[in-house]
Symmetry: D2
Subunit: 231 residues, 4 copies
């Protein structure tokens, strides 16, 4: 595990953008799985500046690693978020976008293997220790890409999730196959979980603890998120 600490959100976003651009600049197909949410917003803003309308990055293919379908909508929450944050402003060709869905998730691991696997995956960390859609005590570390039906009885269930009936996600086995994993976390609110996940026991109660086993994991933090680590 390699831990890079940026002074602040701007610095960690710049570091993250650089790593992604490094991959994107290869002279070959590059398969990249990216995350929605708040943490990567500035990473995408910076990437858009370079990538928008550039012919230089047609070799990059984009994948989402989890998805929550919304009834009555053609596309789920994650891919919609990624389109808004990055894919639309960067004018990415539709043929370079590969949505994971409730319909195709059983084919995801094989489909990725057929194109040479994921080169890089950008993920965040949940305050409860989840990563991708791998939720505490719901995940099995032996999962490939899988689907969960939500019962409302889950420890991580919150009332506001009432409309969500199911989701799909790449599981730990799928994530271990990614050649380079980039975990980004900012803010003091997640500092304790950063420490627990990266230095505590490996247990399904803290799904992200499994990331300690990945052979090429780069963790990018701001100083607040790193504050509980002894570096």
């Amino acid at each position: 595990m390699k831990i890079l600490v940026g002074k602040n959100y701007e610095a960690m976003s710049e570091l993250t953008k650089n790593i992604l651009l490094g991959y994107m600049s290869n002279d070959r197909r590059v398969n990249m799985s990216i995350t929605g949410g708040k943490t990567p917003v500035l990473v995408y803003d910076k990437l858009v500046e370079v990538v928008k309308d550039s012919p230089n990055y047609d070799n990059v293919h984009y994948y989402n690693f989890d998805e929550i379908p919304v009834s009555g909508q053609a596309e789920g929450i994650t891919i919609s978020d990624l389109r808004k944050l990055y894919l639309n402003p960067a004018n990415i060709n539709e043929e370079n976008i590969h949505p994971l869905t409730v319909e195709n998730y059983t084919e995801q691991d094989r489909a990725l293997a057929e194109v040479g696997g994921l080169d890089v995956m950008l993920i965040g960390l949940g305050g409860d220790g989840h990563f991708c859609g791998n939720m505490p005590n719901t995940v099995n570390f032996s999962n490939l890409t899988y689907r969960i039906e939500i019962t409302g009885e889950e420890s991580w269930f919150e009332p506001g999730m009432g409309d969500i009936k199911e989701f799909v996600t790449m599981g730990p086995v799928s994530v271990m196959r990614v050649k380079h994993l980039i975990l980004i976390v900012n803010g003091s609110a997640k500092a304790k979980m950063v420490k627990t996940a990266l230095t505590g026991p490996i247990t399904e109660e803290v799904p992200a603890s499994i990331l300690q086993l990945h052979p090429n994991l780069t963790v990018i933090l701001d100083e607040e998120a790193a504050s509980e680590l002894s570096l």
Copy 2:
């Protein structure tokens, strides 16, 4: 995970030899970690036939992944076993042999990283679910290469082990960094553990269950060892 089943011990040993020779035939330094014990005896007999006194495999470097020191002896049980089974009959140059010892184990992970990492590791499976020296309930999945002092209170301790006070072993994090992992198992006595380790929950009670997470694991079995699997 890819599971190859040979008809018998001869067939599975032939398959294993082929995979190892495939790596050894690359035009670059190849770092290989190999196992002692009974299972690989025929693999080594077959390899010796090809490798003995051949200048073709000077690019291959050998590592052991665990070691049990013996008081009053210059070398431990594992490397002595490897010398007898393979390194001596194949006339391997001493400079291509890199013993792991109680003295150098804290340097092992860094030393491997400095030479580009292990390309391939050949391991066996214990009837109790151990692999390398990762013993049930003694291992932490978050271990790099580590040392264990034996107290005699361990669940896996047996009276015959009375002389063994300590051992060192590459841990799960170290093993996940190996580019290709080859697990060989033969015989009906281990058929149940093959099933448990490869298809059961990932838990420190069954250390080899963690191998399910490796991104490039080839399991080579004879028909007896595979008999509990539904393939």
Copy 3:
């Protein structure tokens, strides 16, 4: 460059089979480009014994690297030869066979890139120094996969080729992208060309001389083919 010399045709074929099987045993898609002709006949006989009707090698995809169309026939000379020598007796699934043709050759380099590139390519050496369809003075070292119309004026043209009007072949740039190149040659008739191609100047008069630049080239010879080399 790594040069392996087997005592005879049997020994060099066994070595070659082992390297190919090593790749085929990976737990991921493996893309393999193979050669027709006489040299690999025994390699394929040996491979068929292992692969025929085995479910273990469904991850292997086969490509030909050149093709000569025959008027009035659905398939060309190379793929027909490969079917007879290996693909038919080994019962390879049609979906794992990817013929290069005069119709699709302009798409070949992109198509290979899309599936992660070729892992391994098995090639032979022509007595005139050609490899794949890269003919003396006809090839440009800067060629990707390309098509040649035969005029009859070529230095390498022979009367018996009168029916052949055109062919397609992967070019030097395409071949340099292969991760591991295996060149097999047997017999004293090619011993001089082995020496010229592997140790002489790099020139388009001896197309195979460009192989000296490949970063991972394994040459497998019998003692006769190696007889002009000072090893």
Copy 4:
């Protein structure tokens, strides 16, 4: 070959820095060969800002690919230039710096192989088509790392070079082994050579033409250097 065109020197330097930082951020030893001269000055200025006194990049090892000894001085022209431009201002540990010298050049290819090979090499292009120390008509494409004694009769010899008696350089075979090659060129004066080297015949008269054969070459140009290409 992937060609990235930045609007100007600042933009191409930013792109280059990003690619290098991407590699440097891996959680493993990274071997990087870098170039002296004028073209990379801004790349190094940008890198120093990130790397100076940071513990994050201790995994990066630096190599020079050519060297010109200076009589009476402990170190040659290239490494001295690299120290001034980057290694000193970035406070790189001496143990991460691996100078190529007239004394050790015969060991260079083996030494690089022992540490897993070069991950990335940054090179420039000479107005006469040279790259590294591979000079027109002096280079053989079949060279590994080699030494040249200067006679003064070379086509590329200039009076100002009168004090230089010899130099060493990695050759084409060595450079083809680098996993990712980054060629940077700026300015209109080199626009014609960019076109000749990247699209013309592969010949020892234009040493850089051999780069067309590299399987992972990224060319980074400003608009002036790209002006003769039809992109």
